[in-house]
Every structure is written in structure tokens, then in C-alpha cells.
């Protein structure tokens, strides 16, 4: 009575086929990642050394290290962070906690989503117009970082807003009913319980900016500048642009040098991702509700 029929056998075959198909898709998805990482490590690994990391390029960029570009990328990302995080988090708090649900708020939300879809080259041109020329910062770290900040703002806002909205409504109601103002509620209950999500979202986004090339190319990153920047109004080298230049603009660059730059860049991004994931796991473990 419970023996498998022809129909059951067919169902089982279909089941197996789909399982295999989806498994294959997943494999195909991660293969390129594995290949890229392997090639980078194999070909770029030998280039890595203290000297590579901590000396300037020399000999028409066909020898030497990447120190100015490494430092430049850190500058660009740090200044971009300083600009985008306060503005992004504040707007997200406004949108999630204060803004009334009306057509205007919906319009703003729509604009933010669309802003996230604007190609980076368009941001670059906006940066040239707004920061380099109009604001008069010239080609500088400040102009380049602000361009990066504008570009990451929508994602910072969305990540923050989602973390805020993940805080259960019951907590807010409890606060309001004890006579807490909106701000007291946000400060004492909502933020402490969403800060992990906000931080990880922000770190993730920032790690992405460190790889961008287009937005900094016309706004403050220099092709070759073997000195460290002294302030935000200086130009600077950057890892992403350096890689672009090595592989397309300079003849006879030894291969391991190019791969070495790529490896350092991707290593930075992965390290920041790992940091953000570790952070999230740590904070998750601490909160219980």
C-alpha cells in the first residue's frame, strides 16, 4: 500500500535533477572567485614584501613598491567615511524615525534608491563639477573623497534604515508609554540595538569604495606622485588607479608587480569585509531578545 509507484519514482528523479542543477549553478558561481583569488595569490604573492608595501614606485613605475598608493587609498576612504557616515546615519534616522509617511517621504526614498543606481562615472563628472570646480577644492583628496561619499551615501542610508527598522516596535512603544521623547527613545533604545547593523553595513560599503577608480580619477587621484599627501587639499595616488595605470598606461611593467597591487587591493577589501562580519557575529552573540 505504501510502496513507491511510477509517479513517486518520477518525482524522485526530478528532485535529484533539480538538486544537481542548482548545485552546479552554485559551483559555477564560486569558480571564478576561486580562480581569481588563486591566480592573484600565485602570480602576485611573490611580489609581496615589506619593501613592496613600504617603498615608492621607481624606475618609471616598473619597479619599487606601492606605499604612496596604499596610504592614498587609506586617506581617500577615511575622509569619505567622515563625510558620508554622519550625513547618511542622520538622514536614515530622520527617514526611519521621524519622517511622516507621505508622498514627499516616499519621493525621497525613491530618489535614494535611484541614486544608488547611478553609474560611478556619472558621480565622477558630478564630483568634478561640484567639488573640484564649483567648491574650488581643485583636484584633491577632499574632492575625491566627497565624490566617493556622495556615491556611498545611498547605501549607507539604506543599510542604516534597515537596521533601525529591525528594532522591534514593542521597544519603542514601551519607551513612548513611559514618556520618553522620540529622541530619548532613539538614543537609549533604538541606536544601541541597531548599532551593530549600522556599523557592519557602513564598513561593507566603505570597503567597496576603496576599489573604485572612476570617481577618483578626475577628482584627486594622481597617476604618479611618489610623495605622501600632507593634507586633504593634496592630490594622492590610490591603489585602484595605480593598478589601472600599471596595466594600461605603462609599458614593460613586470607582471608580478601588477598582480601584487591587485592582491593588496583585494586583500584590503576582504580584510574589511571579514572585520565587519566578525563584528556582526560578536555583537549578535551579545544581544538577546
Amino acid at each position: 500500500m505504501f510502496a513507491a509507484t511510477a509517479l513517486d519514482h518520477r518525482n524522485r528523479r526530478t528532485q535529484r535533477a533539480f538538486k544537481a542543477l542548482f548545485g552546479l549553478m552554485t559551483l559555477m558561481l564560486i569558480t571564478p572567485v576561486i580562480i581569481i583569488l588563486t591566480v592573484l595569490v600565485v602570480k602576485g604573492g611573490p611580489a609581496l614584501s615589506m619593501e613592496f608595501l613600504f617603498s615608492a614606485p621607481s624606475n618609471g613605475m616598473t619597479a619599487g613598491g606601492i606605499f604612496p598608493a596604499l596610504v592614498g587609498t587609506v586617506w581617500l576612504v577615511a575622509v569619505a567615511l567622515l563625510a558620508s557616515v554622519p550625513v547618511g546615519v542622520a538622514s536614515a534616522i530622520y527617514l526611519a524615525e521621524y519622517a511622516p509617511d507621505n508622498w514627499f517621504t516616499r519621493l525621497i526614498n525613491l530618489a535614494i534608491i535611484n541614486l544608488a543606481g547611478v553609474p560611478s562615472i556619472v558621480h565622477a563628472l558630478f564630483g568634478v563639477g561640484a567639488f573640484v570646480l564649483f567648491a574650488g577644492f581643485g583636484e584633491s583628496i577632499l574632492a575625491a573623497s566627497l565624490t566617493l561619499a556622495v556615491m556611498t551615501l545611498p547605501v549607507v542610508i539604506v543599510a542604516t534604515r534597515e537596521s533601525l527598522q529591525a528594532v522591534p516596535k514593542a521597544f519603542r512603544e514601551a519607551c513612548w508609554n513611559m514618556g520618553a521623547t522620540r529622541w530619548q527613545t532613539i538614543w537609549k533604545v533604538v541606536l544601541p540595538n541597531s548599532i551593530s547593523g549600522i556599523l557592519t553595513g557602513v564598513i561593507l560599503e566603505v570597503s567597496r569604495t576603496s576599489g573604485e577608480t572612476a570617481p577618483i580619477m578626475f577628482t584627486g587621484a594622481a597617476l604618479f606622485l611618489p610623495f605622501l599627501p600632507q593634507g586633504v587639499l593634496d592630490q594622492t595616488m590610490a591603489l585602484s588607479l595605480h593598478l589601472f595605470v600599471l596595466s594600461t598606461q605603462v609599458p614593460n611593467v613586470p607582471e608580478h608587480l601588477e598582480y601584487g597591487v591587485a592582491l593588496v587591493l583585494i586583500g584590503m577589501v576582504l580584510a574589511m569585509n571579514a572585520l565587519s562580519i566578525g563584528f556582526r557575529v560578536y555583537l549578535r552573540g551579545r544581544k538577546k531578545w
Binding site: 511622516p100 514593542a170 521597544f171 512603544e173 514601551a174 519607551c175 513612548w176 508609554n177 513611559m178 514618556g179 520618553a180 521623547t181 530619548q184 537609549k188 533604545v189 540595538n193 544581544k287 538577546k288 531578545w289
Partner: protein, 263 residues
Amino acid sequence: MADATTAAKDLAIDVRGVSLWYGTFQALYEVNLEVKRGSITALIGPSGCGKSTLLRSVNRINERLGSYVRTTGSIHVLQHDVLAEDVEPARLRKEVGMVFQRPNPLPLSVRDNVLFAHKLHRTGQRYTRAQEDGIVEEALSTVLLWDEVKDDLDRKATTLSLEAQQKLCIARLLPVKPSVILMDEPTSALDPAATEALEELIWELRGDYTILIVTHNMAQARRASEETAFMLLGRMVEHGPTEELFLRPHDQQTADYIEGRYG
């Protein structure tokens, strides 16, 4: 006339002719309710009749929904018009605490939960650690929770049993000395034993606090209240001493409800 004023002096809550609309939907029709100071009044009625709505208008928490909610009529708490222009909702909610259906302690330690409202409302002066400890002990003792949690006040409140959480939700109101506590089905998430413990506690609080409690549980209303008010479809049908309302209801609808004919 003299009588009327003395009577009004004894009222903690005085709701007169209150109508309330959610958008175009009218949830309350000319509701009147007088709650005597220090008494426990149960609010009963079928689901959707407006019990929570009425409760939530007393501390004006309905306002959080925005201009979508419109209230007419008058509500006085301790002779003060709470719908007046110059009322600061935060001050009102300090005076009128609220306990919910699902216990909703904040994701903080037990101690910080008890001190939360206190810290919101203290004006200027700083309290020493010892003074705060005193406040915590007093509040937790009042709700009969002190012995259970005294050894671990830093424990996350959200890890306590539901019964303890609900007691804590009452305890955290006490340090700011509210005169009125509104309770919206405070035991409906609890098992029978916990329900009984909560009822005993609520009964103990009578006198020191004025309590207006919504319940679906007829037995609870009978056991744990002095007066009972019955609502139906947004209207106040009958209000009187609990014993009398249950034994000799004046209104046929009340009789039908307490005999379980509305489900």
C-alpha cells in the same frame, strides 16, 4: 452643585462624551467613564469594541498615529484636562503608566529597566548608586519580584520568564510615582498560575494606584476589580460595582455578554 465638585475630586479618570475616529471609522461614540481614585476598574467587552482605544486615549498614546486619529469630548486625569493644548504628553505619561498585553521589557538589564523611566523624568539632581539601588529594591519588592531577581540584577530583562517580565513592566512604572496605571489585557500572554500571581499583585496595588484594566476574562474581572464597565461597539453600555454588574446587570446586552453569548 457642591456635591458634584466633591465627587469630581475623588475621580482619577473622568472621561466625558468622548468620540474617536480612526480616519473615517468611528471607534468610540460619546463614551463616559468615571474611575475613582485608588480603585480598580475592569473594562470588558467583545473584541473590537474599543477598549484599547479608550485606554490609549487616556495617556494620549493614540496620537502617535498622527492626525489620522481625531478625538472629541473631554478627558480629565486628576481634574486636569489631558486634551488641553498645553499638555506635555511626556508629563502625562509619567503620571499615567501603561502595561501591555505582551510583556515588553526593554533589552536592558533588570536594573536598567526599573530605572529607565526614573532616569527619563528625574530633574537635574543626580542620584547615588545607593539611592538607585533603593529605588530598584522598592519597586521590585512592590511587585513581588525582588526575591527572584535580587541576585542577578544585571541579567537581561528579556531572558526572564513571561510572568517576571510582566511584573517588571509594572515595576518600572513605580519609581516615577504614577497615579494611574492602565493595563491592556496584562495576563493574556501568561499561563493560569502566572495569571493568578499577577491578579494578586494588581489587587495589592489597589489604593496606592488607580488601575483601569482591560480583560477578556470574566472570572478575572469578577475576582480582581471593584467596578466593571462594559462596552459594546464603541459605546459604554453599563458601569457599576463589579458584584452588582455581574449579578444584576441592568442592560440586556450586558447580561448576554457576561453569560458568554457574544463569544
